[in-house]
């Protein structure tokens, strides 16, 4: 039976690359396309070929899903807004003469690696033309940024009396980013 076989082939081609719910939806749409060609009088082989031609090759459909994915949108927004949040905290560090703070070297290295890792993961999520890896990268980056923002807010809360004035900008900026990354993770991980 060329029709169902075709649909299964198509499903197999996209199932490793897209979430199961999207695969089910595409398979239903392809089956409807195939049925409509049968209704027009095409034989099963011709109907199967016409259905795939009309639906679009699996690679094209996967690429279109990836471009429109919540992971890519979240990553791009975070990459665009990241410099603003970073500038706010940079002002805090400069105004507070952060180089004189007794912060252990390991903590500085951990902070720097988390930030650099998050930026790399966001770039991967924003540019990689593959849906699942982009989703994983965006989720990890969101979690890392949320943890960093939470840690920064906790630190200035504990040290409030020493915190310089720019924290009045930096804390709301980080709080807004925590809210965004939390919403983004829910959207990105939706099955």
């Amino acid at each position: 039976m060329p029709g169902p076989g075709l649909i299964e082939d198509y499903r197999a081609a996209v199932s490793g690359q897209l979430p199961a719910s999207i695969v089910d939806e595409l398979a239903d749409g392809l089956a409807e396309t195939y049925r409509s060609y049968l209704d027009q009088g095409l034989d099963p082989d011709a109907a199967a070929g016409a259905a795939v031609a009309e639906f679009g090759e699996p690679a094209l459909v996967v690429a279109t899903f990836t471009r429109a994915s919540p992971a890519r949108r979240a990553a791009r927004r975070l990459l665009m807004t990241g410099p603003v949040v970073g500038a706010c905290w940079g002002a805090v560090l400069v105004a507070g003469r952060a180089w004189t703070w007794p912060v252990p070297a390991a903590a500085r290295v951990l902070l720097g690696m988390t930030l650099a890792g998050a930026i790399v993961l966001l770039a991967v999520a924003a540019l990689l033309p593959r849906y699942r890896p982009a989703r994983r990268a965006a989720t990890a980056a969101c979690a890392g940024l949320a943890a960093m923002d939470a840690a920064a807010i906790a630190a200035v809360t504990v040290l409030a009396r020493y915190a310089p004035l720019p924290v009045l900008l930096a804390v709301p900026a980080s709080a807004a980013r925590i809210a965004f990354t939390t919403r983004a993770m829910r959207s990105v991980l939706r099955p």
Partner: protein, 112 residues
Amino acid sequence: MRAEELKGHLDALLLAALEGGPRHGYAVMEALRQATDGRLDLPTGTIYPALHRLADAGLISGSWSVVAGRRRRVYQLTGAGRRALAGKRADWRDFAAVISAALEGSPCPDPA
């Protein structure tokens, strides 16, 4: 009319196709074809990502059912989607009137 020519207008077309009631992805494409006498040349598979994007934006909502043993997602307009469609229609009328005035010498509409 090819996909690249529809850039920027696809969202409005999909919202309009759902204005008459809930539809699944293929039915949305069929509605667009019927409305345009088959002149839209868009790979059917590529409208699904656009539908997901509209659902993420809260302009449409999706619900699942089982038809002929297959899972089917059916979309319908939300209140925000109806408002967005009305806005896009108004924008399109303005845009079309201005471009027509430039290309064909028809009267240019007064700015609202």
